[in-house]
């Protein structure tokens, strides 16, 4: 699924997360580092092993936030809009998710105008640095898509 981005977003945050010793699980962080290398104006990048509550402070400063993660539940690159989530009792272990952080940001005073989750297909989560070919291709595709999102083109 692909949502249509709105145009003209300049103040953006890209949050890539995952375990960079676990094969395809590092895809989100790899995308984050590649986005950082593009040096796009107005784009702030975070590379995280997991989502933690203080990221909500950064989210509350921007107009657009893009979360990038590896997923074994998608066969192709997926970009979906996400909104603030309803919390359950399990909130705030290492399973904190984008919806949780968006709700925290909202409760702290500001929600971004737009928020997306970029899910990169993953199949190999064993210990190691290498990406599977499908994930590697999806990483390149994700970088292009995110650049497009933050440029608002």
């Amino acid at each position: 699924m692909r949502s249509s981005p709105k145009s003209g977003v300049a103040n953006s945050l890209v949050v890539g997360y995952g375990n960079d010793l676990r094969g395809d699980d590092r895809a989100g962080r790899l995308v984050a580092s590649l986005i950082e290398e593009t040096d796009l104006p107005g784009v702030h990048v975070l590379s995280q092993s997991q989502l933690t509550p203080e990221i909500s402070l950064e989210i509350a400063k921007v107009d657009l936030v893009v979360f990038v993660d590896a997923s074994v539940e998608t066969a192709t690159l997926d970009i979906s809009a996400v909104g603030p989530g309803v919390a359950g009792p399990t909130t705030m272990s290492h399973h904190a998710d984008p919806a949780t952080l968006l709700r925290l940001a909202r409760d702290l005073g500001k929600m971004p105008n737009e928020a997306y989750v970029v899910s990169i297909p993953a199949s190999n989560l064993d210990l190691g640095f290498n990406l599977s070919p499908k994930t590697a291709r999806a990483v390149d595709e994700a970088v292009g898509a995110i650049v497009e999102l933050v440029r608002g083109s």
Binding site: N19, T52, P53, A87, P89, T91, M92, S93, R103, L104
Partner: protein, 499 residues
Amino acid sequence: MESPPASPVKTSGLAEEDDNVKNMVVIDPVTRIEGHAKITIALDDSGQVSDCRFHVTEFRGFEEFCKGRPVWEMPSLTARTCGICPVSHLLASAKAGDAVMGVKIPDTAVKLRRIVNLGQIIQSHALSFFHLSAPDLLLGWDSDPAARNVFGLMAEEPELARRGIMLRSFGQGVIESIAGRKVHSPGILPGGIAEPMTQETRERLQEGLVEARRTAEDALVLFTGMLDMFKREVQAFGSFPSYYLGLSNDDGLWEHYDGYLKMVDADGNVAATGVAPFDYRTIIGEAGRRDSYLKSPYFKPAVAPADDPLKGIYRVGPLARLNVCERMGAPAADEALVEYRERAGGIASSSFFYHYARLIEILGATERMAMHLADDTVVGPHVRARAGVNERHVVGVSEAPRGTLFHEYQVDDHGVLTDMNMIIATGQNNLPMNETVLQIAKEWIDGPDIPEGILNRIEAGIRAYDPCLSCSTHAIGQMPLVVSLLAPDGEVLSEVRRG
């Protein structure tokens, strides 16, 4: 080394194969802790709790993964063990690397490492208290579970929740300022620190400390004001005699980075002290249990061969550090420590006091950080020593937020790891967590019907330790892996064993 405590430690425990187990209540997964765990509660024929087990069901295998890697990579690699306390692994690993080189690192680097560790303690304790435990404390154990979380807290106590997030952010900012990145920081290396601290960073941290300290003080006032409401929890959340382990120094001050190992008993008597980190095996043994990947370390001098490791049960982390030290070495935290000991009646033996100890450590950390930052040498230019491989068998130890962390490496002439052992804080609290769960279950469970609020208390007993299970699993190839098929009445129908 002195004698073990006069008061015997209770040695109950679920038998490895208990044919009498008829009813079991399983809580899986335990919520609001790092990693994955399972609790099994066994009921007898009359529906009363007969025993409990806390299982770690997640397997990581980092000790095997790291073999064959150069020691210089180890801080960066082992930091990936955990996304919550990576700085602790960075420090223990870097200290092991210092020992491989056989160098004394520059004083400025020591100060910067101390500041980073204090930032780590602040941010980790802030997460534990404000986000994971405060919902129980402020909203109530029996409150709506759907709202018993940080959002419920945000609704009821918005300012407290906001300041908790800010406090954690401050601690993360300290780490990023010195080590270069909030998570898996590359700036802490064998031999010291990658880059000196700038004057601008120093001033920024000093400025941030003002609000951080105020938050810690206010949280302490809030917590102590509520403590009388939790008398039953104080009595039943892991209140039992045990040993306590922490780093110590000749001044008796709260220690979090260097020094030697000190163990005190249930009455506060010194059971072992002056133990060099390299000699940790003289006081710590490690037992494996068939139902968990988590190791079960114990105080070796208290356990004769073939004895139950529970006789050497010890706790680490904030509760233990405050029992081990004489003073915090910081005025406001020392004042808080006096009140803490008055409320605890001397040695704090209830794990409910972990929350209280955590807040005192946050306060002490802000004060100690201010002292380091007030020292002009903190911005000195010499932050790294360089050398090749001079020692082949080393141990690096530091205090992680959750307790004492050990990295033991053996390397070849090129600095490549040939063997490795990590003992992490959560593992050392494994036996105490089991005892805590059992105590809570016996206090509150009466028959097979267990209200959600009681389940939450059982989980909260584990959360008091703030366990981080993702760090703490056995090395691959050494774990006793058992797959059991159980009948509804607990009878073992078949079992496959490996290791």
